[in-house]
Amino acid sequence: MSDSERKTEPVSKRRRNFLIGSAMTGVVPVIGWAGQAQATTQAAPVDARAALNVALRVNGRLHQVQVDARMTLLDALREEIGLTGAKKGCDHGQCGACTVLVDGRRELACLTLAVAAQGREVVTIEGLAAPDGTLHPMQEAFVAQDAFQCGYCTPGQILSAISCVHEGHATSPDQVREYMSGNLCRCAAYPNIVAAVLQASQQMGD
């Protein structure tokens, strides 16, 4: 991810401020995990006190964000912090595109509340390369094995794959397929992904 992308002022901030403003007038669309489609059609009472100050540690840096209790970690990362590496493929836990590491374990950021990630260590694809730009062995392996086409699923695949290796579930092609089954690839780069995970697992020495 480029620095300029990181610093982009999150678009949702404006929308969220607008919503908090309209809370005073009585009816507020519910937004958050359920996706924007509902946001415009559903109305429900919202407790304005639901705005919370949350400190999220992401890729070793502490970010102070204001979220409401309903916001997912995925939305907080993408729209509040501006880290757009974690992708929103389905927002329903089914595709794995939003996979991040939380305290070292792979989790789905679309099924995790941002407030629940407080006090935990979050790693996204942006946090993998060394400060000098040296890629993580898993990133290297994905490049070497040509393990992507459009690249949409790739950040989630790479984080999931790192966990897969740490768990000790990357010892054979079949095992990789089984333990990477939570990450779908619409371009069906699966054979190359399996090859990349196996290659990196040797370099990672786990």
């Binding site: 519910v30 937004i31 958050g32 995990w33 359920a34 509902q38 946001a39 559903q42 429900a44 009472p45 919202v46 407790d47 006190r49 639901a50 919370l52 409401d68 209790a69 309903r70 997912t72 329903h92 836990g93 089914q94 794995g96 996979t99 374990r105 792979r106 989790e107 789905l108 679309c110 099924l111 995790t112 509340l113 407030v115 629940a116 999931s160 966990s163 897969c164 768990e167 579930h169 089984e178 333990y179 990477m180 089954s181 939570g182 990450n183 779908l184």
Partner: protein
């Protein structure tokens, strides 16, 4: 009440649960996808950090699995062969990310007819422990699940643990799930079987089928028919008509009732054949 709280003990959880109508959140893997936006207008009690809900221990009353135990932890635990079906199911609940977050208590309290945890626990005669300000109570899992997404859990109760009595920890079990594809699917049908074989003959048999009736069921008639047989004879002893009559399966978008009944009988045969192989080898 604050919109989000993460209590650090069971008493604190029960205190919070008694206020208003909060929503308990364990792994969140059922809550998020299954419901629409309204739910989060209720305060959330995140029970993932409640120590009393964690851990797998063997005690005087049997095997105790904390309700907050994740599927990944269940799959990794050292458990007797009677729990093989439960551990196999643990590895088929979604993908690994779901298994890292999703809990056994969430699976049971959500009470989907397709919950993969239920058949393996039914063949283990599992009992549920619930806590409320009134104290603790225990209910057999078979009674706890009363319908699709319906349980005996009262609004102020937290599921604390699943208990498998010692008597049901004998023998070995096996789980087979049928979905539309190999991974990441909601079951069309799934079965768990547990056999205790003594001197080459079936002494105890437990069969359970899920996703083929409003609530997953044991099949006492079919179990009876297996007693005294050699393990190798059990698969052929499954009577498809008897299985269908006991289940009264459902038609839905994933499969028709007729298909489900046939699938259930076939899965039972395959599970029994696998167990028989283990006895032969």
């Amino acid at each position: 009440m604050t919109p989000y709280s993460r209590p650090a003990s069971l008493p604190e959880t029960l205190f919070l649960l008694a206020q208003g109508q909060p929503l308990l959140l364990a792994g969140g893997t059922d809550v998020y996808p299954a419901t629409q936006a309204q739910w989060l207008t209720r305060p959330v009690i995140d029970i993932s950090a409640v120590p009393e809900l964690h851990g797998i221990t063997r005690g005087p009353d049997g095997l105790r699995i904390g309700a907050g135990t994740t599927w990944a932890a269940i799959a990794a635990a050292a458990l007797p062969p009677a729990c093989n079906a439960l551990q196999q199911a643990a590895q088929e609940v979604g993908g690994r990310q779901i298994q890292n977050a999703g809990t056994i208590g969430g699976n049971l309290c959500n009470a989907s007819p397709a919950a993969d945890g239920v058949p393996p626990l039914l063949v283990l005669d599992a009992v549920i422990e619930l806590a409320s300000p009134r104290g603790l109570r225990r209910v057999a899992l078979a009674d706890f699940l009363t319908g699709p997404r319906q349980t005996l859990r009262a609004a102020d109760e937290v599921m604390v643990a699943v208990i498998v009595p010692d008597a049901a920890l004998s023998g070995a079990s096996h789980f087979v799930k049928l979905g539309a594809r190999a991974y990441l699917v909601i079951s069309i049908a799934m079965v768990a079987v547990r056999l205790l074989v003594v001197a080459g003959r079936v002494q105890q048999a437990a069969l359970a089928v899920g996703a083929c009736s409003a609530v997953a069921r044991r099949l006492p008639g079919a179990e009876q028919a297996l007693l005294g047989l050699a393990p190798q004879e059990t698969a052929a002893a499954i009577d498809a008509a008897q299985v269908a009559a006991a289940l009264a399966p459902l038609d839905d978008l994933r499969a028709t009732a007729v298909y489900r009944a046939e699938a259930a009988a076939e899965l039972l045969r395959r599970a029994l054949a696998t167990l028989a192989q283990d006895h032969a080898g």
